[in-house]
Symmetry: D2
Subunit: 429 residues, 4 copies
Amino acid sequence: MEINDLDLVVPKLGESRIPSPMSGVNFVADDAHVLYHGNLKTVESYQKAGKKPPCFEMAGPREKIYFDPSKLKCGIVTCGGLCPGLNDVIRAIVLSLFHHYGVRTVFGFPYGFEGLTFRYGHVPMELNPAKVQTIHQQGGTILGSSRGPQEVAEMVDTLEQMNVGMLFTIGGDGTLRGARAIAEEVERRKLKIALIGVPKTIDNDISYVQQSFGFVTAVSEATTAIYSAHAEAAGARNGIGLVKLMGRHAGFIAAYATLANSDVNFCLVPEVPFTMEGFLRALEERLVRRGHAVVVVAEGAGQDLMGMSAERDASGNIRLGDVGLFLKDEITAYLKSKGMETNLKYIDPSYTIRSMPATPSDSAFCLMLGHNAVHAGMAGRTSMVVGYWKNEFTHVPISAAVSKSKHMDPKDKLWTGVLSSTGQPREMI
Amino acid sequence: MEINDLDLVVPKLGESRIPSPMSGVNFVADDAHVLYHGNLKTVESYQKAGKKPPCFEMAGPREKIYFDPSKLKCGIVTCGGLCPGLNDVIRAIVLSLFHHYGVRTVFGFPYGFEGLTFRYGHVPMELNPAKVQTIHQQGGTILGSSRGPQEVAEMVDTLEQMNVGMLFTIGGDGTLRGARAIAEEVERRKLKIALIGVPKTIDNDISYVQQSFGFVTAVSEATTAIYSAHAEAAGARNGIGLVKLMGRHAGFIAAYATLANSDVNFCLVPEVPFTMEGFLRALEERLVRRGHAVVVVAEGAGQDLMGMSAERDASGNIRLGDVGLFLKDEITAYLKSKGMETNLKYIDPSYTIRSMPATPSDSAFCLMLGHNAVHAGMAGRTSMVVGYWKNEFTHVPISAAVSKSKHMDPKDKLWTGVLSSTGQPREMI
Amino acid sequence: MEINDLDLVVPKLGESRIPSPMSGVNFVADDAHVLYHGNLKTVESYQKAGKKPPCFEMAGPREKIYFDPSKLKCGIVTCGGLCPGLNDVIRAIVLSLFHHYGVRTVFGFPYGFEGLTFRYGHVPMELNPAKVQTIHQQGGTILGSSRGPQEVAEMVDTLEQMNVGMLFTIGGDGTLRGARAIAEEVERRKLKIALIGVPKTIDNDISYVQQSFGFVTAVSEATTAIYSAHAEAAGARNGIGLVKLMGRHAGFIAAYATLANSDVNFCLVPEVPFTMEGFLRALEERLVRRGHAVVVVAEGAGQDLMGMSAERDASGNIRLGDVGLFLKDEITAYLKSKGMETNLKYIDPSYTIRSMPATPSDSAFCLMLGHNAVHAGMAGRTSMVVGYWKNEFTHVPISAAVSKSKHMDPKDKLWTGVLSSTGQPREMI
Amino acid sequence: MEINDLDLVVPKLGESRIPSPMSGVNFVADDAHVLYHGNLKTVESYQKAGKKPPCFEMAGPREKIYFDPSKLKCGIVTCGGLCPGLNDVIRAIVLSLFHHYGVRTVFGFPYGFEGLTFRYGHVPMELNPAKVQTIHQQGGTILGSSRGPQEVAEMVDTLEQMNVGMLFTIGGDGTLRGARAIAEEVERRKLKIALIGVPKTIDNDISYVQQSFGFVTAVSEATTAIYSAHAEAAGARNGIGLVKLMGRHAGFIAAYATLANSDVNFCLVPEVPFTMEGFLRALEERLVRRGHAVVVVAEGAGQDLMGMSAERDASGNIRLGDVGLFLKDEITAYLKSKGMETNLKYIDPSYTIRSMPATPSDSAFCLMLGHNAVHAGMAGRTSMVVGYWKNEFTHVPISAAVSKSKHMDPKDKLWTGVLSSTGQPREMI
């Protein structure tokens, strides 16, 4: 993929002149950058062409900051569906604002962008370290969430009237677009409000971000459903356990969950097309040979087989057909036509997965993600998200983050690992 | 409930004359009985009326046994839906037959009663301690299962031809009726084959049995779904988390899960009638007051509100309407009619719950249950199940066990505990 | 064991004349009693001798109560070591006092009996439903605890001055003796203060109580340590995994944990004497045959082999020698003398086990235990504990509960199950 | 840290000429390299100085391989202490050898390097996909392990006589040195045997490897001990919960576990010196202010305070003093001297942590690590380990991997996160 370094430049509100109150830490220089490409040859090819190799600004605390912490008020919103780690990120932002910078006023706006819109009448929650100390032990979000955009002007009115200088938006693609629209309106009004996003995608499909929070937990939690699917399948003649996992455009959860659970026999993802005939033949063959099968399907897989709808939900996402129910019906009908009595159990663990608290390593990741969001905002960055790239936290402009979504390459090690773990045919067409 | 002691008498194949090979144990006397009623006054009222207070035969090893272990072959089948602990019970039976009595041949018949029917061609598995040593660590059943009855004569043919002297049937109501039919055919043919049931009902609704295996695990596992329902509900404006739990005729799982999870606001069970209006009003009131609600419903609750169908599944159970989907639709429609935008998440964790391995205490319970099934068979009992009553293992004739099902009394401590935990109205009509 | 019905009579503060505010529940009649013996023959033998068969008073809500809830103040203390379920019991007591009876003042006295003694300066916590709503999700005790007795007169002074009419003491043997001493002083001063104990013994060794809270959780949690011991043992040449579990006088935790974990090869408990030679020979034989071994030992086992000390801890319990370290040294020395290089890993999971939150079924049990403690107190009972006997909650006088401790019978089903699960010799002497 | 690209060059047995049997995958070019430095400025500074920026060879399948799979025999050993994921790595190696390359003979040598030494008489295990299919569900290692080196010549004799062409050594620092010694002897004898290491360090302290397997699981499992320490501490007056975690030279486990568990008040690691006085003063201050404290200490912390011993264990590691017991005694003595009665519970969960199965994401990581070990060996690499650097699997020469150990930088984001999470003073001296 050819990308341009200029696309990765992060907007700033202005120059940072105030000395940071943090001490004893490694400040990150403003010219510290993380190479987008890790392969030396690729880097050299940019250089030979006289171009700067594309780089992310490195995240972290700056020696000089833009905002005066003693006067700053901040806000946080969580938008869209639940994801493990939401409370961890809220907590990390609050702790960093208080302990690293001495900011004393942090509003939690309830129910996503609704909370920024006066006419809903939601009362902002005042957040402080005592209030958030143990919230990461619970799943969900203490702020509540909602889907869909709100009037941009109204939201900026709220920020202006409440004198909020920094807004943290934790949410997915739609939320980031909303945050960008707010940033544009802020600029139009010549306000000084930083918009910092923490990208939330349980599917791990945001571009320029190698790992998003909650993903590791989702892979862990998927284990239970696969375990059950296998016990059900193995316990019945021609038993089939069918599990639908998250993954609208990218099958990362399905793929990793398959790697971690050797009981999966078929993994279906959006990136790897298949025909119903190809899949059903392979499934039949497995049943004949082994008497049972476990199928994991990412929700975005096989959409072409169902006839895509043009409908969209409140967040602006295309409404996917339910591939789980579709497969259930197709499998049952096919095997019946073949005279095989079967026993299919369909498990959709999505709500259970996304509402769990973060696993400990995910939780630690969220903490550092939240800290770096705060550092970015204090340094006057705006219209950006905190990313993670090649083991470093980074600044990514929202424009880049929403430009496309990340996918698995079916020829890469991840999918190769899946194939060798499941034993499924490389092509089912 | 008025019951007669004679109803609790367990059939025997004949007199026990062979000395048990067990040593160093407390043998149970044949006249050891466990009182059905634990209240002294009730016992005395029987005595005053000149009747024997109803009693169960006490389970346990007998000093004299009926079968010669060196010549005995045994069989095991698991029937119906999965239940935590199936593999524990299989393991316990095999270990006891081998280690306590020296029986060397134990067949696992695959896929329930199908495995006893030649024409399916299922090959019996030979079971021994090495094979079952760690199977209790997995959910499901290593034997596989199936629903529905098979030709009784064919099954007895199989037992006769394979020279099986003792058959353990692990299954629910339908299975027990099947076992009784086999026992009757055995008697008609004047064979000496003991039929010993281990009652499997995740709902804990078998009469004369205070606790059935898997129930404690089911209550534990229900916790995850309720947790998720609460996180989803609390994370959305007018959020509702709806969880359907097992419980066709009795709401024990729903009730205990509610006691163990303080987040439940409404618990609906078959034993406590409600009207849709009553429930919806109470739910609306809760939403207005607290902004979210968690509802747990046993699958058999509210069947009268849906119009019962007369359809039955392969096991002969009436096909229940899906009260979860029904409530989902009713709630959504009602609140919409009231102008409340809501956010309902419906979770049906049944497959996940029933396919889990048993919790440690349930596992220990299964072990002793299986041992006592073996002791009963070796002592020549037949057409009975192993029960558990007032902290003792017991023998219960199948005829009694299938005569009716156990229910919660809505005025008793369990339901009273539920009401004080949820705060729901005692009557929603 | 010969016991006398009179020993089971529970003291009362006076006659109950006030109508209970509870409605829609099954009130328990004052003459409802639970038979101590469940075997009909034993009951009849008492009757033939002209004696009343021994019975417990049945627990539960009474139609007439002793205290006027509107004027009543209550207190709760937790004493001694941690045990899963402490917070559940606290919560249940508070919820029942508020919701069932309308009591409005409940003090949590901090740090056990210290909290009742002015000179420590601990400030009582005011408890209400909001404060206790989710405390059962955490292990430990929100009240804090301490060991050892305090001045009885001082504690009664506190109760008197704070006008406390009912004190719930959650603790073990020492705590119950303390509660009885308080009850005696209360009587001497002609006060009307009910003393209701909830017996806390993770070892499950209190007489006349078939199951104490936390026990089921302890068995569950022991699983992790045994799992690790097995992985360590199996991963090394002549590997030995040694796990010390709770059980000062009774090996119930060790025995049930062994039943639930098939990896245990030796289970050592206080009730079954062994010699070091006998055990070491059997262990050596196992190592030679299988290459590794897992040993579970209850802390009170083998005390005779170490030389009992006369020392006592602050709770008045005899300080046991550390049988874990003792066995570790003995095993290592013995096998070294036999020229076997070994690899022993010793795991003592006690703090981890006892500080866990209760499992869901244990949690539900705690809830009903706490409710029944409240019902007992409201009915004017005193100097008693809430027991559980043959599936019923009961009232047990403290005098009976502390008179001796409960043990396993090595000839009974539990130990027989252990032997067939471990394959260890019945006698190691 | 100044490093030289030449230090990262991986030895090869010879040229790869055989076409890989894999198809449909992205082969990795032999000149694909992963930059050691991710910061563009650092890369440019090498270039300006006319030096090649240091790079790792990228791991992955090669189009041409060195060994003929049809004739190749392979071996696997696991050495040193247990670590989560050992069985995952064994499984991954076996599956990749069989399914990716068609190798049919894989020996598992029992008990580490002992298994390569004839005189121990350990019989090699033949490994195949069926045998390893579910081993990753158990902790420990199915091969067994041992500590310490063995005669190099003897081990090479074994490899030669059994015609083993590729040996996978899964172990820590000592094991890698052993593998390098074997590789040197192999070279001296002009044999063609590849030595591929999979670095095992639960402490995550191997240089040039950003994440080692088992680490994420260790952080997860540490949570239980910290939870218990907190419950114990909070449940007693001046309660202190002290947890010792792994971390001989680097405090990564302690630091991440602290980030993931907000209950930790003090985190002590080898990288951050402290004096006993400084720490005790801070602890006392916390107790006075909050009444309890949780302390997490890495085993290698504070060694200077105890007087280092020169003793080494069988693996050649310096025997550390037990900082847990040391702190326990020092804390108790100090607080006693201050007249504070305290209650300290010390928990050492090391055996439990290291014997757990890998968490799902760790398990998926192990799978890919094992695959890449196989790809490296098939491509004729030797005397190297498989690393992970900036999100890519890499080849690292053993000489580099054992040259020094990795540490936390106390000024970096990780430790800064710890400080803001615990609230402990930055300096305790």
